[in-house]
């Protein structure tokens, strides 16, 4: 089956699958955060995405912007810390860029994700190599864009993005943190995967699982 578009229902499934993955991986994310942060990334993401999914299921969104603006605002108002504003801004920008449509094609999703990344950068001021979620989002979206340039199939693009996301996540291990609470550890932050990078990789895993095989 070819996947040239993704519907609001599928995008809802994506967020639901992301909720499932952060919930399954809550101990792993918390463990990563204990090493270089304040040990709350797993519980924050689980609580935040739990609230998002609960809200979506209570009143399903009709359009892409409604879905992602709702998800973004829920994260921003329920999580606190740094992950709430960063993921919240990511989803809010996806929503405002996608607009009141009921589905997105591959270039449309690419543009929305790109705007989401722009929001994360504006909010968190992170650059490549700072050991943050940027180090997953940026290469993943570059891979997504490259795939979209040659094929309209969303599964192919999602797989490419997830592959790049995993590489980006694993590469944060060797980096020295320059943003967030981990930055105070200096050299001691080296040798640990960034928890935000790990949860962002799960976001692309969820997209792959939502779209199915190429």
């Amino acid at each position: 089956m070819s996947n040239d578009t993704i519907t609001v229902d599928q995008l809802t499934d994506w967020l639901t699958r992301f909720r499932d993955l952060v919930t399954e991986q809550v101990s792993y994310l918390t463990e990563l955060d204990s090493a270089i942060g304040d040990a709350d990334h797993g519980s924050n993401m689980t609580r935040g995405m739990g609230a998002v999914v609960e809200k979506i299921h209570a009143s399903p969104a009709g359009t892409v912007d409604e879905l992602f603006k709702g998800a973004g605002m829920t994260l921003v108002t329920s999580v606190g810390g740094a992950s709430g504003p960063l993921y919240g801004t990511f989803f809010l920008r996806i929503g405002t860029t996608a607009g009141p449509r009921t589905s997105l094609d591959a270039p449309g999703l690419a543009a929305a994700l790109r705007a989401g990344l722009g929001g994360v950068v504006a909010r968190g001021k992170a650059e490549a190599g700072d050991k943050t979620m940027f180090d997953v989002l940026s290469p993943a979206l570059a891979a997504f864009d490259a795939a979209v340039d040659v094929s309209s199939d969303l599964s192919t693009a999602a797989h490419a993005a997830y592959f790049a996301a995993q590489t980006g996540r694993d590469a944060t291990r060797a980096l020295l943190a320059r943003k967030g609470r981990a930055s105070y550890l200096g050299e001691r932050s080296i040798g640990h995967i960034d928890p935000g990078a790990a949860s962002t990789a799960l976001l692309f895993q969820a997209l792959v699982e939502t779209l199915g095989e190429e």
């Binding site: 921003v76 709430g84 919240g88 968190g124 609470r181």
Partner: protein, 341 residues
Amino acid sequence: MKVNQEVPDMKKLINFPETVLADSLAGVAAAHPGLRVDHANRIIYRATPKAAGKVALLSGGGTGHEPLHGGFVGEGMLDAACAGAIFTSPTPDQMLEATKVVDRGAGVLHIVKNYTGDVMNFEIGAELAAAETGITVAVVVVNDDVAVEDSSFTAGRRGVGTTVLLEKIVGAAAEEGRDLEAVAAVARQVNESGRSMGVALTSCTVPSAGKPTFELPEDEMEIGVGIHGEPGRRRVPLAGAAEVARQLVEPILADMDFTGAPTIVMLNGLGGTPLIELYVMYAEVAKLLDAAGITVARSLVGNYITALDMAGCSVTVLRADEDLIRLWDAPVSTTGMRWGI
């Protein structure tokens, strides 16, 4: 109300780890008729708002640092404080709601400690306030912790002790009727003129974690610790008060010139150290400052910005001037600080 019949599995006076914040806000509301508590939005605000036309001051942050910030709400200091979960920033909807509650038509100054989460959540709160209300918001970010050496390669210096002095001084400036720009200018001046350094003798225990945040052997201390138990500059053998004072004061004096101006000095307890030890420390700090030719015009000793039950203290030195000293002396009536009234 839910009553816990079981004994908590850590030695703390709590019902449940997850209800500590709500239960403590209930206590604040019950104890202090001069304060109001919005339990849904977790905002502590003045029962009697200041006069219309005056700038309002809003601060907030994760809880666990009491009396900061809720204990500094009242005449002469803050108009409201947003409470986050323990050591976790409050969320932007709280800042939006509090901004609406405190605005008296002259704008609102947000006082934010420099932590990534606090800065971003307050930033979104200010954006929401601008979009929804038209209230003018100014922001000052406090970053006075000299323990963070590589501030350009990290999230920057943390906001610690200077926050207390800033909330008092800037509160007085707002009470005088200065406009938002002038009040924000005083806030920036205080932040740029204050430096702090702390030491931990023990870790703290966050109720939801149930165990100490870090391990510190009986015979060691952490110099440069943050107010959430973040690691400091180095872990060193425990020493006497005079030597500990030297290790705190030296980096502060190395960072800024405090000679030739009156200073305000705070010797602050981190929550688990008795006042008698804080006075022992203050005596040593005062000697060192005197030897360095620094004039201490005003001083404050006690628990003002804490880290739950952490044993230890911090030193803050603020380079003041005539205006700041006058604002410091102005009347203040809060649960955490009170004089002149």
